[in-house]
């Protein structure tokens, strides 16, 4: 494979993290899902043999952490087999799941296969909202699975994606995680990519909600110190500096989409860049030599204000996907940065949504309904995009 000019001068460290998106099939329909809108296009999933080869090659290069994700990875009947292979290769194996598709017998099989850790997502702390957001009746089952996960002595992470519909319940959510004996709690503010991006008007919290939630999170961080680690990821739309996205492009993370497309992050598929497929290339060729993975390595690709910015080595100019979505050019500074000429547009948008939220709270307006993440809606979106492109 050809290499891209001066960028090959940058030293490439091996990948540490392999995120295996086994499938985009999922029994849940969360409207904040970060999967691509085009999930319905991914019909040809990699085979067991493909995944085994990918895991072997990435492990040989030095990858240590392996995440089985999706979609819902439990949908894959070969999950036990993949876990066993991963563990024997020496990976620390993480299962990132909704818990739907799991029962005690399967948890036991995972344990026997050597799975290290299970992360269960909850949508909310009350049954009605949880089931509404997930589009299915799953709340009691999730709680039951969390108890079984602890019973089998797994370290347990509970992940709750936070947004305007559940942020005011944060105390109840944290009480629930205490009751379920979570070892780690990830309060993950929604990041607006994929499905959450098209639902941003309904999901973005207000500054006031965030300020209140942060206080509660802090209170529980102090209270649970030594018992449970509470990680509160604040939404970057309210920051003045961008996140060091993925710790740099092609620096640590390797994501493999269900069809075998290799990506530097699970959102990067939306960029107008060609990414290699594990069916055509080895992981080493992909990581070290592909134009896609070298595209934003180092600093040579940067434009102003990033290029001369003293903080460029700290945040790498932020998120390429966010820059692309908001400015049309992935090489621009992430508009979260207040040095970006597009930052004001972001602030205006946050302000516009705050007004919507206020009107919604006082019943002056009905904000448009959430678009749930499912194959039907995906097909519709893909079809509409095609129609727009054709005309």
């Amino acid at each position: 494979m050809s290499q891209v000019g001066s960028e090959t001068e940058n030293k490439v460290n091996p990948p540490l993290w392999l995120l295996a998106e086994l499938t985009y099939r999922c029994p849940l329909q969360c409207p904040y899902c970060s999967n691509p809108l085009e999930i319905s296009k991914y019909q040809n999933e990699l085979s067991t043999e493909d995944w085994v080869r990918v895991m072997q090659q990435a492990r040989k290069m030095g990858a240590t952490q392996l995440g089985f994700s999706g979609g819902e990875p439990l949908v894959r009947p070969d999950l036990e087999e993949l876990i066993q292979e991963a563990r024997s290769l020496g990976y620390y194996t993480n299962l990132i799941t909704s818990g739907v598709g799991m029962d005690e017998a399967r948890v036991k099989r995972f344990k026997d296969a050597g799975l290290d850790h299970i992360q269960i997502s909850f949508q909310a702390s009350d049954e009605e909202l949880n089931n509404f957001l997930g589009g299915t009746k799953t709340f009691q089952h999730k709680k039951e699975m969390a108890r079984i996960v602890k019973q089998y002595e797994y370290p347990m992470v509970l992940n709750i994606v936070i947004h305007r519909k559940n942020i005011d319940q944060i105390r109840d959510i944290l009480d629930m995680t205490v009751e379920l004996n979570a070892d780690y709690v990830e309060l993950a503010s929604t990041q607006y990519y994929g499905w959450s991006r098209i639902n941003v008007d309904q999901l973005l919290p207000t500054r006031e909600q965030l300020a209140r939630a942060e206080l509660v999170a802090k209170e529980y961080q102090d209270k649970m110190k030594g018992k449970s680690k509470i990680i509160y990821v604040i939404p970057d739309y309210f920051e003045n500096r961008p996140k060091p996205c993925m710790n740099g492009w092609g620096a640590i993370f390797l994501t493999i989409a269900p069809d075998g497309t290799a990506l530097p992050c699970h959102e990067a598929g939306q960029l107008p860049i060609e990414f290699p497929n594990v069916k055509d290339f080895s992981i080493s060729e992909i990581w070290n030599g592909s134009p896609g993975f070298n595209h934003f390595r180092g600093f040579g690709w940067m434009k102003e204000p990033c290029l001369s910015c003293p903080e460029k080595e700290k945040d790498f100019g932020g998120c390429r996907c966010q820059a692309f979505m908001m400015t049309g050019d992935a090489a621009n500074a992430d508009p979260v940065c207040d040095k970006s000429p597009y930052h004001q547009e972001l602030l205006d948008d946050v302000e516009r949504i705050a007004k919507l939220a206020e009107q919604e709270a006082t019943h002056q307006v009905e904000v448009k309904p959430l678009v749930f993440r499912n194959m039907k809606n995906s097909k519709k979106i893909v079809k509409e995009a095609k129609t727009t492109a054709d005309t």
Partner: protein, 108 residues
């Protein structure tokens, strides 16, 4: 997936006052794993979605934590292996960090 790639290359300098009993047998806590990583050329502590690289001396200590050996015996073994005296305070200092981080616990 944003909080998943924290990597600490140096240990936190924690000042903890803790009674460490040298006759205790210590083990790696069940929610952590310690292993040698060829590519990193060091021992690492693995936990959900994270990894801490251990310095050479920290690695030498942690690889001796096997759920069968007392702290006293670990210190002695290290002193013999590296032909050094007075490693006790360094080892204890590291074990305080390891306890505080939840990596090790006393064998009951």
């Amino acid at each position: 997936m944003d909080g998943i790639h924290r990597e600490k290359t140096t240990l936190l300098q924690l000042q903890i006052i803790m009674d460490i009993n040298k006759t205790d047998i210590i083990e790696i806590a069940p929610t952590f794993r310690v292993q040698w990583e060829e590519v990193q050329d060091c021992f690492v502590v693995l936990y959900p979605e994270g990894m801490v690289k251990l310095s050479q001396s920290a690695g030498e200590i942690m690889k001796r934590v096997d759920g069968k050996t007392t702290i006293e015996a670990i210190i002695k073994d290290l002193e013999t292996t590296f032909s050094e005296n007075n490693l006790e305070s360094d080892v204890i200092k590291f074990l305080e960090v390891a306890y505080e981080s939840g990596w090790i616990r006393n064998r009951k």
